[in-house]
């Protein structure tokens, strides 16, 4: 497929696509030339020819004399204040995982106004489909804050005792003030409900009427993350985490908001969904919803960040544009040398090709009254228009943990020891960066501190899939890519979303390989700080990356609305490893 975007976008990002300047500027709608044309204190002779022609157009339309209307300004406070007492960035060293635990941190139940299943329905399917841990994340909102957050807990506790080998966290899907949704969850304990309920009542954008873009709402989001950290400090809960969900879906998570969350408390805010749920949504209408993969089908709205291109509103190979774009937003965060991790989840509400449904009489009014829908019943027909898969059926987040317990999973997530895949593309992916000649290095999420000038190498240890996936075929990992970028430090513009130095540095053809094999990439001598991350694919659908073929010769393809069969377009992504040379 021809792709002409590389140069245009690469160039445009620095020059006038509108996101280099503060988008809270009082006259953000009108460009400088129009404002000059409108300003009658500037004589015609000082205007450029195009400004003069605009002025005459406006004059003949009879609109020139009304500029006083533009002078109306409201409070334009700066973006969320810089955090105080922020602990250092979390780079863990030498934490080779003892066990890989697959999970899903984004799952809805009958306690969501758009959900349907019992907790045990979700948990039992998750366990059957191979997950070790899951987080129940019903939507924040008035009804959930009032009673749902309480009512779901006994179901979660019952499921924990029913499914002894499955770790089931209670969380909620936070309506982040001024932004998208996010997973918030805590370590189980006597105060899990109390803390979640207080958080929701104090900081949920829907409960607080704080959904729209405003500096005050952005500050409320930052305060919510910091409050969670304080609950850990005060030992009300043993641990708490926040990850942003479907970040690019509506363009309303601006780059500076994501940075502000991360910087609010890096122990708590650790990442975003690299791939959203709803992966069945793009199945063709003959067998599925015929919608956009991930339900990423929207156009920009009033609260959308104006700098995002239309391409960001669609998934690419099932992944969110922020993650799928090499040298894009995720890389611009990593290039700052601060942790920010990706995950992949089901976002299961109502699952594709399923026969159960809500019972008659279980409607919105009943939900609002009781805090939950009534238990599902057999529906006698197949639901082809639902867009979700069961947890574990398609998307997995693999976390490297010390032990199989709640706190270790949270530690692994915080440390970024994780990789994600679709359709069980790989059985095992272990990545390490080590000094040449050393036996061990740093695992995913780690930072290799190495004496400057020492040679280092990337080791990718793949175990190919031997088991069929839940579409009942054994997926083939046909290519693995290594991506490398310089660590250039904190950005001066918090709304920047490109990392010009990051690109694909190696593509391995892995077709036909079986069993466990190692791919080794020499990374040269460690002179300046950098990071590497790894991606793999079945190779079925590729196109030059959004930022051009020189950055990413064969990246994921833009998903087609109504024609996105997720089983024939499989990818895995790992989190990064840093190399930080010492003097």
């Amino acid at each position: 497929m021809g792709h002409s975007h590389g140069h245009e976008h690469g160039h445009g990002h620095g020059h006038g696509h509108g996101h280099d300047h503060d988008h809270h500027h009082p006259n953000a709608e009108l460009d400088a030339a129009t404002l000059a044309a409108l300003d009658e204190s500037i004589p015609d002779r000082e205007l450029s020819p195009s400004e003069v022609s605009r002025r005459s157009l406006l004059r003949s339309a009879g609109i020139l004399g009304g500029t006083a209307a533009l002078a109306v300004t409201g409070a334009q406070a700066a973006a969320a204040a810089a955090p105080k007492n922020v602990p250092g960035w979390i780079f863990r060293q030498g934490k080779r995982p003892n066990v890989w635990l697959a999970g899903d941190h984004h799952i809805h139940t009958q306690f969501s106004s758009d959900g349907m299943y019992r907790v045990v329905d979700q948990a039992r399917h998750a366990a059957a489909y191979g997950l070790d841990w899951l987080v129940i994340t019903d939507h924040g909102g008035a009804t959930h804050a009032r009673i749902g957050v309480d009512l779901v807990n006994p179901q979660i506790k019952a499921a924990r005792s029913e499914l002894k080998d499955t770790l089931i966290f209670q969380g909620l899907e936070w309506n982040i003030p001024a932004a998208e949704h996010g997973t918030v969850f805590v370590a189980p304990g006597s105060r899990e409900v109390e803390v979640l309920k207080q958080f929701e009542n104090s900081y949920d954008g829907s409960v607080k009427g704080a959904s729209g873009n405003s500096p005050a709402n952005e500050a409320l989001a930052v305060a919510g993350i910091q409050w969670l950290g304080q609950q850990v400090d005060r030992r009300r809960v043993q641990d708490a985490l926040f990850l942003a969900n479907h970040p690019a879906r509506n363009g309303i998570d601006s780059p500076h908001e994501i940075r502000n969350w991360r910087d609010a408390d890096p122990r708590i805010a650790v990442g975003f969904e690299g791939a959203p749920g709803h992966q069945a949504a793009g199945l063709p209408s003959t067998i599925g919803p015929g919608s956009a993969r991930g339900f990423y089908g929207n156009a920009p709205g009033a609260n959308s960040f104006p700098g995002y291109p239309l391409e960001s509103y669609r998934t690419w190979g099932g992944f969110d544009w922020m993650t799928s774009t090499v040298g894009g937003l995720w890389d611009s965060l990593l290039a700052e040398g601060k942790p920010w991790w990706i995950s992949a989840n089901s976002d299961s509400h109502v699952n594709w090709n399923e026969t159960s449904r809500r019972p008659d009489g279980s409607n919105q009014a009943q939900f609002d009254r009781d805090g939950r829908y009534m238990d599902p019943v057999h529906g006698t027909t197949v639901n082809r228009t639902a867009g979700d898969f069961w947890p574990g059926y398609y998307s997995r987040t693999h976390v490297g943990a010390d032990r199989r317990d709640y706190v270790s999973v949270m530690e692994g997530l915080r440390a970024g020891r994780m990789w994600v895949d679709h359709g069980m593309l790989a059985k095992g992916v272990e990545v390490e960066v080590r000094e040449v000649g050393q036996r061990y290095g740093e695992p995913l999420g780690g930072a290799l501190l190495v004496r400057r000038g020492r040679p280092v190498e990337l080791v990718v240890r793949i175990t190919t899939q031997t088991m069929p996936n839940w579409a009942n075929f054994v997926p083939k990992l046909n290519r693995v890519d290594a991506i490398r970028g310089a660590v250039t430090g904190a950005v001066s513009n918090k709304d920047s979303f490109t990392a010009p130095d990051t690109k694909v540095v190696r593509q391995w053809d892995t077709s036909g390989k079986r069993g466990t094999f190692e791919l080794v990439l020499p990374l040269g001598r460690a002179e300046e700080p950098f990071y590497v991350r790894v991606r793999g694919t079945d190779g079925n659908r590729s196109q030059p990356g959004y930022l051009g073929a020189a950055i990413d010769p064969a990246g994921p393809q833009l998903d087609v609305v109504g024609d996105a069969d997720p089983w024939v377009d499989l990818w895995f992504y790992t989190n990064p490893i840093w190399v930080l040379p010492k003097k």
């Binding site: 497929m1 021809g2 792709h3 002409s4 975007h5 988008h23 006259n27 953000a28 709608e29 009108l30 129009t34 409108l38 605009r54 406006l58 003949s60 339309a61 009879g62 609109i63 020139l64 004399g65 009304g66 209307a69 533009l70 109306v72 300004t73 409201g74 334009q76 106004s113 758009d114 939507h139 909102g141 309506n175 949704h181 729209g212 873009n213 405003s214 509506n250 063709p284 015929g290 339900f295 089908g297 929207n298 156009a299 709205g301 009033a302 609260n303 239309l310 391409e311 669609r314 509400h349 109502v350 639902a386 030059p544 959004y546 393809q557 833009l558 087609v560 609305v561 109504g562 024609d563």
Partner: protein, 191 residues
Amino acid sequence: MIIAVDAAARDTTEAEHVLHELLAPVHAPVVACTHLVSGDGPPHYAVSVTGTAVGLEQHVRAWAAGRGAGVAITRAGASSPDLAGPSTLVRGAYVAAVEAALGSAGRLVRWPGHEHAYGVLTAADLRARCGIDQIEALGGLPVEDDSRIDTLGFLRPIRRVTGTVLQVQPAAGGLLIPFELEHQQKCCADH
């Protein structure tokens, strides 16, 4: 004449509802747009109607007064526009009027040629008969003269300095469809 109204519509659906009410008594062809107002206070949409429709101004004034909306009405050659309503909303109406006057920004709901834009059309047809100057596809996909575009009965082209642009995306069956679909997935929709 340009009539611009800011009724603090939170999304384009609400803005189009405002246009629908404003244009209820109008049968003459007009250009009708939604305009993003993002510079001050909560981001939202204003609307503009460009054209000479009998009785429209009176209808709009009454409608806007009843709802506390901001209004900017311009007449060709006048020294300044008529402004009415709360100052924050007058600002949005004025912005919409400026964008309508320049014809360089805004999202078109009605425009000359929209009446021909239905069914499946080639890119060349859309440009020749439907008032579209350019067609742009997502992800660098080329648009040829004979590329087929299923309008899905809902086109909302945007205005740029360079002309009227229809943004499209790939769809099943080798067709292109509009990037903006009529039914947007709500945040917490029951899906």
